[in-house]
Amino acid sequence: MTAVEEAPVSAAGNPIGFGSMKRKEDQRFVRGQGNYVDDVNLPGMLHGAILRSPHAHAKILSIDTSRAEAHPGVVAVITGKILEGIPRPELLGDNFAWMPTLSYDTQAVLATDKVRFQGQEVAFVIATDRYTAKDALELIDVDYEPLPAVMDAKKAMDSGAPVIRDDKGQTDNSITDVMGNKFWESGNAIGTQEAIEKAKADPNCVVVTQDIMYPRVHPAPMETCGSVAYLDPVSGQLTLWTTSQAPHAHRTVYAMVAGLPEHKIRIISPDVGGGFGNKVGVYPGYVLSVVGSIVTGKPVKWMEDRSENLMSTSFARDYHMAGTIAATKDGQILAVDVDVLADHGAFNGVAQPTKFPAGFFHIFTGSYDYPHAHCKVTPVYTNKAPGGVAYACSFRITEAAYFIERLVDCLAAELGMDPAELRLKNLIKPEQFPYETPTGWVYDSGQYEKTMRLAMEMVGYDELRKEQAEKRARGEYMGIGISFFTEGVGAGPRKDMDILGLGMADGIELRVHPTGKAQLRLSVQTQGQGHETTYAQIVAHELGIPPEDIEVIHGDTDNTPFGLGTYGSRSTPVSGAAAAVVSRKVRDKARLIAAAALECSPDDLEWSLGKWSVKGDPDRAKTIQEIALLSHGSLELPEGVEGHLDATAVYNPPNLTYPYGCYICVVDVDPGTGQVKIRRFVAVDDCGTRINPMIVEGQVHGGLADGVGMALMELIAFDEDGNCLGGSFMDYLLPTAMECPDWELGETVTPSPHHPIGAKGVGESATVGSPAAVVNAVIDAISPFGVRHADMPLTPANVWRAIQGNPVRVDMAVE
């Protein structure tokens, strides 16, 4: 692997290949010259605003829009009834009031019969400016008949529970997936159950059970969601500037939703201010901006505000996990079983590959070698915002990693064993890779113990345990928490993975211009990941063209090849691989052209970075730039070789990649107040080859802050009446620099054996791995009070209540 080789440096001081370099895109961001959807202003553009439901569950008796329509500046008011009257030309349903979700469910664009969550879209006002549109919302009179709401997922399937999806003829709140299942299983139910029963009966074994909740949190990207739609009444061309992590997938979905011909749809995702999964789905607001443009013949902009974003767009998590782990008394794990109640909100809008209705939760088996595992996930509807699988989770891997790492700590507590020792005893060994887990996933590569030992050495694990013992003797409470996580990212192999039938391969196109400068066109979409830099570095690594000479183009479906977008840490594993493959195609073609120019056989040439030269005669060589000009020039090309130096590729990954890491967190807890102070955080990541280590570290920093937020403060709870209790940044707390310690980062590099450059992806590693480290540290700190578990977020109140032996239920209003 070339991962550790030092790349040569370009004239501009950048590595011609892998290595840290400043992000090319930051030139415009630090100068305030980014171009976001809300920066798009078109001549004659109108502005839309959405009236939202104040109720979680209510019948709509009537909607009177006459006062709003009469308001000066209002151009149109659209309701669900109006949408019902617009026939949809083809596919999926019969009118515009409902749209398909990414999970083959339906979601109301504008409510017609009932509202099903607080914040649901009820009407859409189009006006000459944003203020007027918002003013007019207050002039719409909606007569609601409030209904009892289902806010507690645990009561959703009670007999007599109010039925949310009566629109589908349902008689309960169960969710049926596209394959007809009401729950989703993986692993071996019988084998696991037998192993657990056997352990229960064996005096040399223990069985530990623990209910673990991963409560509802929100991606909360800096930029909220929005769109500008213009359907040219003459050409029939729809151009949609939108906050999308997956512009090509959106184009196809709009074609299916609106019945518009796909070749007349152009999706442009300009700069996107953070996504974290929040911008994967298609929201009613986007559709309404399109409908608005159809109705008015003008461009229509819709940008949601912060509360709309928090209350109505894709949440994450909301998994109630009941875990069982069996082990020998000397700490050999035998079996893990988990029964999950999954709260999907009012519409099943989860983004996931079709065959994985619980996403990649299957990876709950973690980083350990044991024979038996089983999970069962039961989804339910509740009167909460729809969506799910958002927020840097790799399709539910965040829940899975948190679950197993918390459960292993519960086992360690039961055994009276050091949690590091327990983990080291059970980690999958390097020689076991490729490792097939009990749920059927094949981990590609890893040196788990090496990574864990490095983290323990960096943090000074043994000294910390000594300090802890001394402090406990003085009545001071510090805790040390370990998390060892494995992710499966880079969805995914076409044979296994699709979203709405769209395979998860990614296209790419490389054009090398006559002067040797290049353009790389991606199907994936950066939301801050630094694609414009790292993809240039991949091409530089493969072709020797300096990264400053490579322009990376993305986010415009008319100018880039098809692919499924950026989420689930899939860009580097899939599209990054495509970039290497397409570069190698160009390199191969360059060889033929160089051979023609040097009048030798291609077999006589050898590649060294940036040039083909004659073996044994290095002075006879052509650089890639010279070859580029030759390819466009008058040189007679060999038979079968076309001119120019462009290539395209579609990369279909043979497997997921499996980045992993070991995180150790040290906290101090004040038992008198329940306050937690994170003293240290060591994060050792192994994401395979590091294309740009600086960007990797930046991604890890961000993810660790995310993890601290979820572990300590982030939460969307609801009261019994259905009120969202996390609808503003005053209520939905995001961590600040003050809550974050100086991150101490380390790395091991175990390249993926099946990825062209050995890279595994790292965008979500820290978010996946860090919450368990923080929570395990806090529980470790307060374990002398007899605490074995408490649910996130560990606010001062929750920590104090756990110490009192009276933990709060986090997903409902505090009582």
Binding site: E138, T673, T795, A797, A813
Partner: protein
């Protein structure tokens, strides 16, 4: 982007002018100081005043000064000035301790003492400090000025003595030689409103507490105060037992509500724990420790 409803704007050039503008624009007009509560409420359309009367040019309401044996804080003094004031640092470190924990530098650079007092949020940090120190507020109307003890200033959450057509102009605190003071707060995240806080001052003379004040916020303490605990402590030695008993009495007089910051039992516990911690430090400071 959150967008407020239409609103008019007028910029006052003096307190008299502001009072005249208030009169002229009627009861739905609001004065605006730092705007860090009012503007977000307007953007969320929780508040929709018809006119904003801007007080930011009123130099007569600015500054922190000593007058006789009182410290006077102008209503338009910014939180950042309170944080940095050498006068307050000398006499009442409790201000500095509280201000360090109020919101963030951006808010403190703009938000004002008068605005915080008049917003009368039940979780306001400065209300606890003001109540502990038993200050007074000066309220002006067209007919003149009146002085109201801080412990009579609040009628309840978001309700104060400041009536239509009136403006709070200054807040005054008696100087108490030898006083030690301290502020203790628990927040879920830096810059958040307190889950609970306690601000206290203690004067220890000849081995006994000669005077003290206890202010509590976010825990349902009437007038942000705990007078029974103060009565208990005055005249007693500042021993751990006595401080603890005072803290317990203070907590017993609180009536917190459960919300997402924490359940009522926890807040009640905090009222006791934080009062005790603040009393310990303040009495130690008064004794020159």
């Amino acid at each position: 982007m959150q967008t407020p409803a239409p609103v008019d704007y007028a910029r006052a050039t003096s307190v008299d002018h502001a009072l005249q503008l208030l009169d002229q624009h009627g009861e739905d007009a609001r004065v605006i100081a730092g705007g860090h509560s009012l503007i977000p409420m307007m953007r969320l359309r929780i508040a929709s005043p018809t006119t904003l009367i801007d007080l930011n040019d009123l130099d007569e309401l600015k500054g922190i000064r000593v007058e006789g044996n009182e410290i006077v804080i102008g209503a338009m003094a910014r939180h950042a000035e309170v944080l940095d004031s050498p006068i307050l640092a000398e006499h009442y470190p409790v201000f500095r301790e509280a201000e360090k924990l109020i919101a963030d530098p951006v808010v403190r650079n703009r938000g004002t003492v008068g605005g915080s007092m008049c917003q009368a949020d039940p979780s306001e940090d400065l209300s606890a400090v003001g109540s502990a120190l038993r200050g007074t507020v000066v309220i002006r109307s067209k007919s003149g000025s009146r002085t109201v003890p801080i412990r009579e200033f609040h009628f309840g959450p978001y309700m104060t003595q400041v009536a239509d057509g009136e403006i709070l102009t200054e807040v005054r605190f008696p100087i108490r030689p030898g006083a030690g003071s301290a502020y203790e707060k628990v927040e879920r995240r830096v810059g958040d409103w307190p889950v609970a806080s306690a601000g206290v001052f203690v004067v220890v003379k000849d081995g006994v507490v000669s005077d003290c004040g206890i202010g509590l916020t976010a825990v349902g303490a009437e007038h942000f105060s705990a007078p029974e605990a103060e009565e208990f402590l005055i005249g007693k030695a500042p021993t751990e037992d006595n401080l603890a008993e005072a803290a317990k009495i203070a907590a017993d007089s609180c009536n917190p509500i459960s919300d997402q910051r924490g359940p009522a039992d926890y807040k009640k516990h905090l009222a006791q724990e934080l009062t005790l911690r603040a009393l310990r430090r303040a009495s130690a400071a008064s004794q020159g420790a």
